[in-house]
Subunit: 61 residues, 6 copies
């Protein structure tokens, strides 16, 4: 606890995700006064043709 | 806001998803009196061997 | 199948939700060629002080 | 109803998932006094480089 | 890991939930060969007027 | 995009949540090189008797 899910458009590199996990863990620990060992982060890559915005598939925008 | 997640069995075509995004956005805007620009839709394809129903994997039914 | 989750800011009336369920079910059935009996919809009310946008709590915007 | 989502690290075999669906359905039916026909289970495989723990990507641990 | 979310209609007692956590943890450990200490379960109570089935709010059925 | 859900045990103050939204938004923007205007954060408070760990309800631990 806490458990964080990050839904993001496909295409982020492993380095960007590495940095995200590090930085978000820091942010959560600082804000909620918890230890990194209890912070879990799940990243979900969203394909462009599985994401809709303004009534359109993102792949069509 | 609002954010809509649609979990569906794998196999829907891009055209079906295109129509879904259009129609669901309309439905949400009409019901909740919001603009299409604030409606976000995430589609999640569920593999048959990752979906359980009546105690069985769907791929075994 | 399919299973739809709608995350929306707190405050929508029961009538609006009634209309949403009706209209979204229609939209999903039409787009994915499925029967209403297999469409499940979950609505999640999001409190203003549990929703963050542009780095701020929505209740502070 | 009920709807169960199981997020697990990638790599579980189809047999393990078959057993999971069977056993978890039994557990839910026994605890909540419901019939297997209303229990739905979604399994989500989590890639090692999409899962963060202790501030690190799991693939780096 | 694994992380289990159970969405269920409001009204289950604390005893039923206690039994659910115990039984589902057992089922997951047995199926996936993991230790209870790494199994996390989140229960989400769904209000009848926030749940739609067959195009209707459950509270209207 | 991206969309972040933070599931945390009930009891965090509004100030802690304010700080979380600010810090997590910064962390995401820095890591994924996106603007704060496209970062959405949802906080979910988890009741102690709706959270299971090591086969037990958290309220029983």
């Amino acid at each position: 606890m806490p458990f964080i899910t990050v839904k993001v458009l496909e295409g982020k590199t492993e380095d960007q995700k590495r940095k995200l996990v590090e930085k978000v863990t820091e942010a959560v620990c600082e804000s909620f006064d918890v230890d990194p060992s209890v912070v879990f982060i799940f990243i979900e890559d969203l394909e462009k043709n599985n994401y809709g915005k303004k009534g359109k598939l993102f792949s069509d925008l």
